[in-house]
């Protein structure tokens, strides 16, 4: 394990923790951007350049901006009087800790069935493009349809409600 991995893992997890713990929603949005950036760097560290840059474009470029817009449109910037954590926060924390315990135990107790590949995979963007329009062309078309439907659906859902008699 290289020190760079530990550094990036610490950055990502610190961003995630700050997201959950920071009271101000705008601060939480900034912290989640740090977590997204750390994940993109981890992808690059795993020699997955395409996924890393897609992560930067989609998450830091689009999702983070969407979150900030939603916070401003719902007046999320003002702190609620009742506090930001729900009344049943202890139960949620116990469930999350239990999930982590099970996952961590499974990772540490299992023996990998396949030999670890430690050579860098020789995969270029050219190969990814070929795979996208070759073997994976049907999922690509389905994703295109899903994105179109989601765009139309998001506009219809967020469109101004008509005044109707109550």
């Amino acid at each position: 394990m290289s020190p760079i991995f530990y550094l990036l893992a610490a950055l990502t997890l610190a961003g995630g923790l700050a997201t959950v713990l920071l009271k101000h929603l705008v601060h939480a949005a900034l912290a989640v951007t740090i977590a997204f950036a750390g994940l993109a760097l981890l992808f690059l560290q795993l020699d997955a350049q395409f996924a890393g840059f897609a992560q930067i474009l989609v998450y830091i470029g689009a999702v983070a901006i969407l979150i900030v817009f939603a916070i401003l449109l719902t007046h999320g910037a003002d702190l609620p009087k009742e506090g930001v954590f729900s009344k049943t926060w202890l139960v949620g924390l116990i469930i999350a800790a239990g999930v982590f315990a099970v996952l961590g135990w499974a990772v540490l107790a299992s023996v990998s069935a396949v030999p670890q590949q430690n050579t860098m995979p020789a995969v270029t963007v050219h190969d990814i493009g070929n795979a996208l329009v070759g073997r994976y062309v049907l999922p690509l078309e389905i994703v295109a349809l899903l994105l179109t439907a989601a765009t139309i659906g998001a506009v219809i859902v967020a469109m101004h409600e008509k005044e109707r008699p109550r």
């Binding site: 949620g92 590949q117 989601a150």
Partner: protein
């Protein structure tokens, strides 16, 4: 106790990030924070997919990489629709706190 292999290291980071996202989705009151927690969980799953692709036996088949790329695309669509729903609900009830949205009647 042997040293942690690189694959196990990445899987542990992903598991911890998933738990943090789950805690965020369960503990916070604001609907937007729940969506952010779900995004963190999806990202943790992507890290798992990429790590298995990198350390698996056939990286040239690109299976894990493709899974991660499609997962990123679906997550973007989910974020757009989810945040649109939060805005629509806020306009209807004037609240983005989930414990205030407790009526099924419009």
């Amino acid at each position: 106790m042997t040293a942690v292999t690189p694959l196990a290291g990445y899987l542990l980071v992903a598991a911890l990030l998933f738990a943090i996202g789950l805690a965020g989705a369960l503990v916070r009151r604001n609907a937007i924070m729940v969506l952010i927690g779900i995004e963190l969980m999806l990202n943790a799953a992507n890290l798992n997919l990429i790590a298995f692709w990198r350390f698996g036996p056939h990286p040239e088949a690109l299976t894990g990489m493709m899974f991660a790329i499609f997962s990123i695309a679906v997550a973007a669509a989910e974020a757009a629709v989810g945040l649109g729903l939060v805005i629509a609900i806020y306009r209807h009830t004037n609240a983005a706190e989930l414990d205030k949205i407790d009526r099924m009647k419009g």
